[in-house]
């Protein structure tokens, strides 16, 4: 099978602005990951093509990029799931500065994640020689949010992010949920206050782009709605 891919290229040392470049590949298998295609180009056609990757199976969050208009992980997209009659269009994740080609500057993304205090906050000391107890049911309530791999696909797909760079964003909210709904956490208002503001959860207009795009199929909007409920109930 032969395919064509169009990749947005940008090298700050050479280019004034990003441009598309097309690559043709022959004899690829429909079972290939898109990441395999990128490697094939890098290794055999154009060594300057630049992207991040590590695990190659959707768990490290390195290779978020825009594929045919949708944010995805290159290692989790198989060619057979794409329309190959037209060129596959690959661009960097939106709403973040491009460092080079498909590599974006994620420092803003991570600093928002840090803002919500992404760690267990406790006041009561734990039992000295044993674990704190928690029902499996309560533990499993955290699992979906804990699945997040911080790839940035959701936050950069959200119109609220595009229109306001201070918006904390869905990935960080998901993390806030992960702790606020942990029966062991005692942060209370300390964390909720951070997300209860105009740049916080209230800027989520349930547009559902985040759910659409999440490679781990997390129902992010539901988690944000739980945070909204918790914040509203404390105000009552």
């Amino acid at each position: 099978m032969d395919i064509t891919v169009r990749i947005l290229r940008y090298n700050p040392e050479k280019d004034d602005k990003p441009y598309f470049r097309e690559y043709g590949l022959k004899d690829v298998s429909p079972d290939w990951r898109l990441l395999d295609v990128l490697h094939e180009i890098k290794w055999k056609q154009d060594g300057t093509l630049t992207f991040r990757r590590s695990c190659a199976h959707g768990i490290c969050g390195s290779d978020g990029m825009k594929v045919n208009g949708k944010n995805r992980l290159a290692c989790s997209v198989l060619l057979k799931d794409l329309n190959l009659k037209k060129p596959v269009v690959i661009e960097p994740l939106p709403a973040m500065p491009i460092i080079k080609d498909l590599v974006v500057d994620m420092s803003g993304f991570f600093s928002k994640y840090e803002v919500i205090k992404p760690y267990l906050i406790t006041k009561t000391p734990p039992p000295p020689n044993s674990e704190r107890l928690q029902s499996n049911e309560d533990a499993e309530k955290l699992f979906e949010s804990a699945k997040c791999i911080l790839c940035g696909c959701c936050t950069t797909s959200c119109p609220s992010t595009w229109s306001n760079e201070n918006y904390i964003g869905p990935a960080a909210f998901l993390k806030a949920y992960r702790f606020a709904f942990d029966t062991r956490d005692e942060a209370g208002d300390e964390r909720l206050d951070i997300i209860d503001n105009p740049d916080g959860v209230w800027r989520c207009h349930t547009i559902f782009n985040c759910i659409e795009t999440c490679p781990k199929e997390i129902n992010i909007t539901w988690h944000i709605s739980q945070l909204k409920k918790r914040i509203s109930s404390r105000e009552m």
């Binding site: 290794w43 190659a56 760690y119 267990l120 734990p126 309560d138 702790f179």
Partner: protein, 584 residues
């Protein structure tokens, strides 16, 4: 540019992050990592972390230690194994206290499940009699490593640890047996920095990428082990590389042993549960080296299934576990089978084949993570190593599943503590050489090389040859051929050229530097394998099929020795476990 720190930790996987949490606040500490910390390889770990908590059934740390010694095929140092297994219970409870979201049992305690090679005596009054599988692996569905890495990273954020993310370490500065820091470049800008430190910890992970089929991430290129080796310091037991029996066919992506711990079974082409013949008591839950050999034997005897790529596979069946168990306990790995192979595990078996998985060998270190300068036990001042890149040796010839996530938190912490002690009196030793210039030269020589060799081509050849000649079954003819091939590849490496000549995020350059590191790791592995004339743990010599306890109860210390590697031996430390035949 030069930056001064009390301690530099290289690697932001479980080992590096756990060490960082432990460094006392009064000391300046920075963690360098070539990927963002939560992208580190620890996050791919699935099945669990073990400790004899006894939450599901009676168990104790002595059982765990016995299993680890036996699993190591008696090559593990027994004092170190005892240290780890005793500390396991505290270490896992500490992870819970840090916030790790474990799956829970009915009492609300940490849930545990079975894993290969973890057993206890069937009759508690007969500790050396028949043994049965025990639930010892603590888990969070099948994302244990992912949540462990996240939890440790979160605790580092809480403790305001200084990170240099996407910094690639190129050089370790060791002068007169004193470690004085490292040189690294900022991947985003190409700028070279010397981190001048009183103590350095290496926590750089494994080198599975020397093999064609591997569960390891692309970044698993053994950079830390290579840095040590090239500095004239030894590597230990590099011939022991674990092949995990169940990698997804063709891709090598891991299907955790948890699948078998929950009741999954291996079948050959005739639908036979073949492990019955190889390990009658524990069957599918035998240790990895044995199951991998069994799979290859089945394939060699014609009971495998030929895949479209020409390679053979066998089947892992979890369909009888039911959708509920699969969705709750094995969601991630069954998802991989669906996504990548189009197989529905609730209905059909998963095609699997062994995949290169874990380096038992590595940088020799004592139980306080101090790096050893030789086989006599002398240490390098200020240099520490922990995690998969280190060899303490708690895994000996074969690691038991769930013992690595344990190793990284136990020894990460111990290393951090030891560094804290060391820093009380340590000073910045003056750097006499010119490490900044050295790294700049090195980068320049790659960028300016106009040779005709391509990095990907050399790497692919290396990986294919290593898989063929130095994989699960080895023999002298193949290993000697591999030695020659390595010589050729090293020679050809001198005339590589890369296309990207820029300074900003040059992944072409990184791949070239990583290839050099892979070659160093492969060299140590092959020479070690050639020198060990016995079969023990994961090292199987067709020409020496038996374990040789008279000569083989020794660790191999390999020195680069200017291109003609030299091996010295260090006796295994034995406390109370006498080597016996390894049957399951």
């Amino acid at each position: 540019m030069v930056k001064n720190y009390d301690v530099i930790i290289i690697g932001a996987g479980g080992a590096g992050l756990r060490a960082a949490v432990e460094i006392p606040k009064e000391y300046s500490c920075a963690v360098l990592s070539k990927v963002f910390p939560p992208r580190s390889h620890t996050g791919t770990a699935q099945g669990g972390v073990c400790a004899a908590l006894g939450n599901m059934e009676d168990d104790n740390w002595e059982n765990h230690a016995f299993d680890t010694v036996k699993g190591s095929d008696y090559l593990g140092d027994q004092d170190a194994i005892e240290t780890m297994c005793k500390d396991a219970i505290r270490a896992v409870i500490e992870l819970e206290h840090m916030g790790l979201p474990f799956s829970r049992n009915e009492d609300g305690k940490i849930a545990q499940r079975k894993f290969g090679g973890h057993t206890k005596p069937a009759d508690p009054n007969d500790p050396y009699g028949k043994r049965i599988p025990v639930m010892r692996a603590c888990y969070s569905a099948d994302r244990t490593g992912h949540v462990m890495l996240q939890t440790l990273y979160e605790n580092c954020i809480k403790n305001k640890v200084d990170f240099y993310s996407e910094f690639f370490v190129t050089d370790l500065i060791v002068e007169d047996n004193v470690c004085k820091g490292v040189a690294a470049f900022d991947i985003a800008t190409g700028e070279v920095t010397v981190f001048h430190a009183k103590a350095v910890m290496l926590a750089t992970g494994g080198y599975g990428r020397v093999f064609r089929i591997t569960s390891n991430a692309h970044v698993g290129t053994g950079d830390g082990t290579a840095l040590v080796y090239r500095n004239g310091l030894p590597l230990e037991d590099m011939e022991f590389f674990q092949f995990h029996p169940t990698g997804l066919w063709r891709l090598g992506i891991l299907v955790s042993e948890a699948a078998r711990g929950e009741g999954g079974i291996l079948k050959n082409k005739d639908g036979e549960r073949f492990m019955q013949r190889y390990a009658p008591t524990v069957m599918d839950l035998a240790p990895r080296d044995m199951v991998s050999r069994a799979i290859i034997s089945e394939i060699r005897e014609g009971r495998g299934i030929k895949g479209s790529d020409g390679t053979d596979y066998v089947l892992l069946d979890v369909s009888h576990l039911g959708k509920k168990v699969i969705d709750e306990k094995l969601p991630e790995i069954t998802g991989f089978a669906r996504t990548y192979l189009g197989v529905e595990p609730t209905k059909e078996p998963i095609p699997i084949q062994p995949t290169a998985h874990y380096a038992m060998g590595g940088i020799p270190a004592n139980v306080n993570c101090e790096v050893l300068a030789d086989e006599k036990g002398n240490t390098v001042k200020g240099l520490y190593a922990a995690g998969e890149c280190a060899c303490v040796s708690v895994h000996g010839g074969n690691r038991l599943g769930t013992n690595s996530l344990l190793d990284i938190v136990v020894f990460g912490r111990r290393g951090g503590k030891a560094i804290g002690e060391f820093l009380k009196t340590a000073e910045h030793a003056e750097i006499k050489s010119k490490p900044e210039e050295k790294t700049k030269e090195k980068i320049k020589s790659v960028l300016n090389n106009t040779g005709t060799e391509k990095v990907y081509k050399l790497r692919t050849e290396l990986q294919e040859w290593m898989m063929e000649k130095c994989g699960i079954f080895r023999n002298e003819t193949d290993l000697k051929a591999m030695v020659d091939k390595l010589g050729e590849l090293k020679e050809r490496y001198k005339s590589i050229s890369i296309e990207d000549k820029g300074t900003v995020f040059n992944t072409d350059l990184m791949e070239a530097l990583e290839l050099e590191n892979l070659l160093a790791n492969a060299e140590a592995t092959v020479y070690g394998a050639l020198n060990r004339k016995e079969s023990r743990g994961a090292h199987t010599r067709e020409d020496f099929p038996k374990r040789d306890d008279d000569n083989g109860m020794k660790h191999s210390f390999i020195f680069e020795n200017g291109g003609s590697p030299e091996i010295k031996l260090k006796p295994v430390t034995i406390t109370k476990y006498k080597p016996m035949e390894r049957k399951y």
